[in-house]
Amino acid sequence: MALIMGMALAAYTTSHAQIAYHFRAEPQEQQFNRLINEIRCLVCQNQSLAESSAPLAHDLRQKIYLQVQARKTDAEIKDYLVKRYGEFILLRPLVNKTNFLLWSFPFLGLFFIFIIFYKIIKRNFKVIS
């Protein structure tokens, strides 16, 4: 019961930042919220910047806010962070040669399982008929 309530609360933490950030317009606010949910807090590593109350998370939210206000694109802001902290700071890994195995692994796994099921079903079919 407590777990379900905790999960419900977690879904409402996107605007967690303890400071009220003021934006020029709606798109900027959306961009900010989108970014702080996609960047990892390196101190509390399973939380995004939106969820974390670590001082570094606060500092990085501040940096992202300033860059959003300066009309930087998502790519520019993410590049800024990856250049300093490495790819690990992105909660969603980049799609490139190094991460190819990471991304394709679930599909390969499912394909492999499908082959096995197919063979088992075919074998059982032969036994029945």
């Binding site: 390196l42 590593q45 570094l56 500092d59 940096k63 250049k83 300093r84 902290y85 490495g86 690990f88």
Partner: protein
């Protein structure tokens, strides 16, 4: 044919299990490699904590130096302090400090009480220089080579073992 499939499946699964074992017990996600390895230091200019002069990235050429991000509120920093003094007095490797998100008066008091291992300490009051370096927790120590490039970053307090087995060999190799 069937036994080949069984053998490959076994080895694939074994390899995955070995990888899982290694990641669970032998890797520490809190010790991240620096994203700036083999790159020049980010450029910066900071006032020193005693306010007499400045600390700039351009000062870091000509020999191998250590750059240590620290704070008086960081308990691991007091633990590694003795080791830093040893590195200064026994090994004669210059250590530059950057005070990270702290009060310079507290730092000056602390250093006068415990000893000062630093050639200079820059005052990074708002942590901006820290962010440029990719600092995510103190203490962090960067090894800077003669060209001013970051060749290694150590996360956490430096102890004897880390110094002898990791940092000193790296410094020697690059001198």
């Amino acid at each position: 044919m069937k036994s080949i499939i069984k053998m490959t499946s076994f080895f694939v699964l074994f390899a995955l299990m070995a990888l899982l074992w290694r990641q669970l017990f032998y890797s520490n996600p809190h010790e991240l490699p620096s994203a700036l390895i083999n790159e020049s230091m980010p450029s910066f200019t900071l006032n020193t904590i005693n306010n007499y002069t400045q600390l700039k990235d351009t000062e870091f050429t000509g020999k191998v130096r250590l750059l240590n991000f620290w704070a008086t509120w960081c308990s691991a920093c007091s633990i590694e302090h003795a080791m830093l003094m040893k590195i200064k007095t026994q090994y004669h490797i210059p250590i530059y400090g950057i005070l990270y998100k702290d009060e310079k008066d507290e730092a000056l008091t602390w250093l006068s009480q415990h000893g000062d291992p630093y050639v200079k300490v820059g005052d990074d009051k708002n942590g901006d220089v820290g962010i440029d370096f990719g600092v995510y927790g103190t203490p962090e120590t960067y090894v800077i080579n003669e060209q001013g490039k970051i060749i290694y970053r150590h996360i956490g307090a430096i102890d004897e073992a880390t110094w002898k087995n990791i940092l000193l060999p790296i410094i020697k190799k690059n001198s």
